[in-house]
Symmetry: C2
Subunit: 439 residues, 2 copies
């Protein structure tokens, strides 16, 4: 299916395109609206709509109300139209933009016509250009106070929705993090393998080495490292369902002796390793817990030649995640800036940052592919979880794609080593000797 | 000449290698010492020597006094022996380790026998392993309060020693920053060209683009960009002598129409450019001035597609530069952590960090080459500047090499772009298409 909303429209669109327009209030109330019991937009409703549209500045996104009243400020053609279908939703949008928008869309009280992703991109571009106030560290800590117990609950909230659900739209290996497309023609399956390979190469894994992975998802990377790089891996994850699945895969692949999946929090990592790797977990740690993560990394690594890689969603500036994403999708999540991670994780333990790569455009492409597959599985997902769930996740995937396309979010891979280690690579040329994964 | 000190020894070495030794006080006072008027080390002198040696922990560096009294704690053979030749120097070492060591060596009151660089490396390794206290931002700001006037004076102090002086030991292009050795067999001249090429490729320069360079040294990079990448460059530097030299080179190379050298502070950069580049200047800016540098970068860059590169000496943790280096070599200098630059320069202006590369081992090699050439020019340098100057600079070059070898210092190249720019490169593979510079 296309990204165009599949719900039947519950309002009529009143076309309005005067150059310096603000309102076009259709005089005639459509008969269907009267049937639905929606009142004609009042002067106050129109004022509220104007305030919302002002927040979008010159973004080519049209806002309309239930009776067709439209507001539009851009001189360019609109890429999407956001229809607000009742007065309560309009009020809530004024009071709490993110929550009301997300929940309103999920519950069908807001419809988006046109290109969902492009519409969201235009919104992000508007917000990115606006001057931003740096959030206080206190507020960031409070938002992501992830105790061991809460971290487990958070993971359950998102990752234990059932492996069958994720199998519908992830790649064959079930990798739920940014893929890497060394060549443009690659498909998602190959790009996820290429990503795992890119990570292994950055870590310069050697056969026989010991690796610890914090936050291992369904185990794809741990298995890839063991099978293709000859290392032994201990991989930690608090999600029971993911760990069970990963163990089963290890047995099937005949490498259960070299890959141990541990159902536990990263804070409980024990042992010494040659390399520490974490792909897609730092976002769930929360800034207040970075010192603990740093301490775990330090005590896990070989004291003289240990090295590691953190792959995480980040930002260019400090700001909490959207309230809606935090409450509905990722409780306790916070995407840090590079400086936050460098300061809190690397500085206290004399870890040298060797390499940072920003793969945000790869994540935009990964998300586009996930969204396409997710929408193809609409019928199955709606049957199992309901329409509101489907729409919540569609908005989350589309919004995430837009966030990475517009630079609202970043994807960092940070490679580091012990400060005194001179076995670090001389250049990065070896990472690019073969563009295709070495399988 | 070798790195072994060329000065005739003024003391006799008393060999001492008992396993858990502390002192070996030779009973007989050497006749030459009596002639020099040095007294036999007292109990207090020996106590002071023990305290100094304790600071070196188990480093294989022997300390001896003027009369041969030696102190050594390592079970490994010593790589170097530090001879303290008078009681005044011993006192000063206790009171102010860095200043007394640097000045003492410069003035011949301290001699280092054995391998100077390896001896310094062992000292750095000891200090790196010691727990470090993070310096307060206040102290760091105070140390590097570089007003425009002071910045000019600081540059004069180091860079206006005469082009003839630097020509004695730099490469042919007079590049006084870390070189890049894509292949191990490269010589310094080729490695400096490779570095300039690496920078240009990271910036993805296109013919016809406008580039601004802050802190351009003798102009090699500006000329390289214009000649080999077809861009026009405005390059800023406060050093009069360097700018005069650079202008002369531009005229000789026939590209004075495309490269403008401006004798001015980076804070006075005007105009809009496609790219901002600064190689080896951030170290001289001082953390209190990063917000100004950030503002200069923001106002210089194209608002939608601007990008830039900062190449600078950094550290894994926050700490002022050695007092001796600050007072004798680089007034006002401060090597920041990656987090400090990312936070102060990139976060406020929504600049996306795309790529960070740490080239510290390349700087160690560059410095080894500089030191070799510098020592070969000893006679000329001593004639012109005196022995103390020669020894000051030898210690600075050797110490810098040791600092980069041991991870006491880092060399970062940080590439960034406007947060909303989607013209950023898809991967970094193009940087490694040709390992040899594309000339």
């Amino acid at each position: 299916m296309s990204r165009r909303s599949s719900k039947p429209a519950t309002t009529l669109e009143v076309t309005c395109r005067p150059k310096n327009s603000s309102f076009d209030h259709s005089a005639a109330v459509p008969a269907r609206l009267v049937r639905l019991g929606a009142h004609v937009a009042s002067a106050l409703d129109r004022l509220a709509l104007g305030a919302l549209q002002a927040g979008l500045r010159s973004a080519p996104v049209r806002l309309t109300l239930w009776d067709g009243t439209a507001c539009y400020r851009s001189s360019a053609p609109a890429v999407a139209t956001v229809r607000i279908l009742d007065g309560g939703t309009l009020c809530r949008l004024l009071a709490s933009r993110e929550m009301a928008f997300g929940d309103g869309y999920a519950e069908g009280r807001i419809e988006i016509e046109g290109d969902l992703v492009r519409g969201l991109e235009e919104m992000y571009r508007t917000w990115t250009r606006a001057p931003h106030r740096r959030a206080s560290m206190w507020s960031l800590h409070r938002l992501a106070s992830n105790t061991v117990r809460r971290a487990r609950r958070n993971a359950y909230h998102h990752y234990d929705l059932g492996n069958d659900f994720y199998r519908l739209w992830l790649d064959r290996q079930m990798v739920y993090t940014c893929a890497y497309y060394p060549v443009a023609s690659m498909d998602l399956d190959a790009a996820q393998i290429a990503k795992m390979d890119h990570v292994c190469r950055k870590l310069r894994l050697q056969p026989g080495e010991r690796v610890v992975e914090a936050g291992c998802g369904w185990g794809a990377l741990a298995l890839h490292m063991a099978r293709h790089y000859g290392v032994s891996v201990r991989a930690f994850n608090v999600s029971r369902e993911q760990i069970a699945y990963a163990r089963q895969r290890a047995r099937e692949a005949g490498c259960a002796d070299r890959v141990e999946f541990v159902e536990d929090d990263y804070r409980n990592v024990t042992g010494r390793y040659d390399a520490f790797v974490s792909v897609g977990m730092v976002e769930h740690v929360g800034p207040g817990h970075y010192p603990v993560l740093a301490e775990v990394i330090d005590r896990s690594l070989d004291p003289s030649q240990g090295r590691g890689l953190l792959h995480f969603i980040g930002r260019n500036w400090r700001q909490p995640l959207s309230a809606w994403i935090r409450q509905r999708l990722f409780p306790g999540a916070y995407p840090p800036t590079l400086a936050e991670v460098a300061e809190a994780v690397c500085e206290p333990w004399n870890l040298s940052i060797l390499d940072v790569e920003n793969l945000r455009r790869h994540y935009a492409r990964t998300l586009a592919e996930w969204l396409r597959r997710f929408e193809m599985a609409e019928r199955e997902i709606v049957q199992r979880f309901g329409t509101a769930f489907f729409r919540t996740w569609r908005l989350y995937l589309a919004g995430s794609q837009a966030a990475f396309t517009t630079g609202w979010m970043q994807l960092y891979q940070v490679t580091f080593a012990r400060g005194s280690d001179n076995q670090i690579p001389w250049t990065r040329a070896d990472l690019y000797r073969h563009d295709a994964p070495a399988l």
